[in-house]
Assembly symmetry: C2
């Protein structure tokens, strides 16, 4: 079962930091129906790692990464809206990325893939709209990396969306987030199996990937959540091992099981490219953010942040909201007290659904 469709990128597709792609494409999925006026579309940009499969559908009944948020009567109400979710350019779930075949060589791009920027991911989404004949979105929406992409999208494509929803995003990565992400990349690139990106498909740098993902998971959650959830419970007996310095606590088993799933699904080079793109993003490179956001001709915006988020702190999101307001956009800023940290948008669907549904249900 596969609900993906593909938009072909212009050939060449110029990359924001130089270089170009040939024969590139963007994978996406849709839910609901585009109305005759073609003005009821919501475009979702994802976080670092999810595919375009945000929710189940007839064509693909497996649960999506935002299952419970997208569907008839849900926050992103597919009875009313035509919802599109794109797999980011540079990822490995159907869109062109470092794990794709380079038509010039017939081999995987690997580190021969051009520099990837958040701006390229935004442009990839915009190409999907062109393919679908949509000139102006009702709403462009994104959490995490997606919350950076929507800002780039607004800056690069004026008048392409009526409303914007930025969830746990930022206008520029903070040094703390850069530190945490760059260590994850270094954990992978120092795994001898990475081999300058030339690992074979059946021998990826799993040791580095697993550790990088464990660290990622920690940065996506919070101390308060884990104190409630795991306390000092011992690791499940079936996960225990007799190695020196083996895991002893339940929280370690949790990290291990999530990491094992991730490693089998995500390509290491794609991870490195997207992670670096997040560090490099800075809306200021496009000019004065307030002028850019004014030019974007947004009518209204919703900016959601989470108090316990380690990676995208509340002050960063307050700043995005302030810039939108200063640009004349009717902006609602929602700092939430969820304890699930950066991942709260994936976990506390009730709170996020109410915020997003309330915003989308208004004008």
């Amino acid at each position: 079962m596969d609900a993906r469709r593909y938009a072909t990128l212009p050939d060449p597709f110029p990359m924001w930091r130089g270089g170009a792609l040939h024969g590139g494409r963007i994978a996406y999925e849709t839910w609901g129906t585009l109305n005759p006026a073609r003005d009821n579309a919501i475009l979702i940009f994802t976080g670092l790692s999810p595919p375009a499969h945000a929710a189940s559908s007839e064509a693909d009944s497996s649960p999506g990464w935002w299952e419970g948020m997208v569907g008839p009567g849900l926050a992103l109400d597919t009875g009313r809206y035509f919802v599109i979710c794109v797999n980011s350019l540079g990822s490995c779930f159907g869109s062109t990325g470092p794990a794709s075949t380079d038509p010039a060589t017939g081999k995987r791009y690997r580190l021969g893939f051009p520099d990837l920027s958040v701006e390229d991911i935004a442009r990839g989404g915009h190409e999907v709209l062109r393919a679908l004949g949509i000139e102006r979105l009702d709403t462009v929406l994104g959490p995490s990396l997606g919350g950076m992409v929507v800002l780039a999208f607004a800056a690069m494509f004026p008048n392409s969306a009526r409303r914007l929803v930025c969830i746990s995003g930022t206008g520029a990565a903070s040094p703390f987030a850069i530190a945490l992400r760059s260590i994850q990349r270094e954990i992978i690139t120092t795994d001898p199996a990475w081999d300058q990106g030339n690992y074979s498909a059946d021998a990826p740098p799993v040791v580095g990937q697993r550790l990088a993902r464990k660290l990622g998971t920690i940065t996506y959650r919070s101390a308060a959540e884990w104190a409630q959830r795991f306390g000092r419970d011992p690791i499940r007996a079936d996960m225990a091992s007799a190695n020196a310095f083996a895991s002893e606590f339940a929280v370690q088993g949790y990290l291990e099981s999530l990491a094992a799933k991730f490693v089998s699904a995500f390509d290491a080079n794609c991870y490195l490219y997207i992670s670096r793109a997040m560090d490099r993003f800075d809306l200021n490179r496009h000019g004065d953010p307030i002028a850019l956001l004014r030019r974007a001709q947004l009518e209204s915006a919703l900016v959601i942040g989470v108090q316990s988020d380690l990676l995208f702190s509340l002050p960063e999101q307050q700043k995005v909201a302030d810039q939108l307001s200063a640009a004349g956009v009717r902006t609602r800023y929602s700092p939430l007290n969820c304890i699930e940290g950066h991942d709260a948008f994936l976990v506390d669907l009730k709170t996020f659904g109410a915020e997003i549904g309330g915003f989308l249900g208004g004008s």
Copy 2:
């Protein structure tokens, strides 16, 4: 220049989780003068990595890890107090640890070192007091790991201190701290150069140690501090490299330079042992904490925590303060708003000096 002195441990020295040491010793330094009544001593237990050299002295004029806090007229006023700082058992700066020679084999202990506990570190400090002829301390004090050790010390050696100062410590490691520390250990143990602890002295697992220390440094500071300190400044030109995914930002260069210093100074196996001991510590294993602290016969206590501390959260320290109060100890709880995170006690000497000096200067 070396100001260290050594206390010989009883032979055998039974370890808290089993096994015993033979021919063990504890390195320590002192400042000030022990009075005739032998009741003006302050014993400092350190965090994970510092040596006994807390401050410069005539015998060793190099700056100590708490330079500016220990000396005549300073918060730990050596005009009034006899200050002792011990290198933790299991460390590698003079005290016996995994990098020491096992008298049974004539070779380094490595992973043959018995399991290390916070309780063993407390007992090591207590042996120094015996060697110095001190029956009861004026104050037992420790930051970070040291803040765990002082609680173990109070529980294990009743009536051995009149006052207690616990700085950014905890009665039991949180699952979030366990997650972060266990990943640091795994980064080291997955470095092929670690070789099950059998690396040679001239080829330690520097890749893993460097990465683990970078992660450690992140967990010791805070996002707010680095936003002020580094922002998105680029890396210094002399630290830049042309590798794939090389560091690009100032914060990355900062982590790199700190990590390089640490790797050359600290033994990897010692790091693993002490780090694991921190995860395992749980005051509750000794019995009801309130009953234990009552039995300790402390007169007063100071518990300091920092709002921005990721590793030892304020609620944990509030809990320590509450238990001390419930045990009838006159307790001052000081939650501080410093932005330097867990390391604030090393950085914001003005605020910490005032808190600690104020407490010690009182009764």
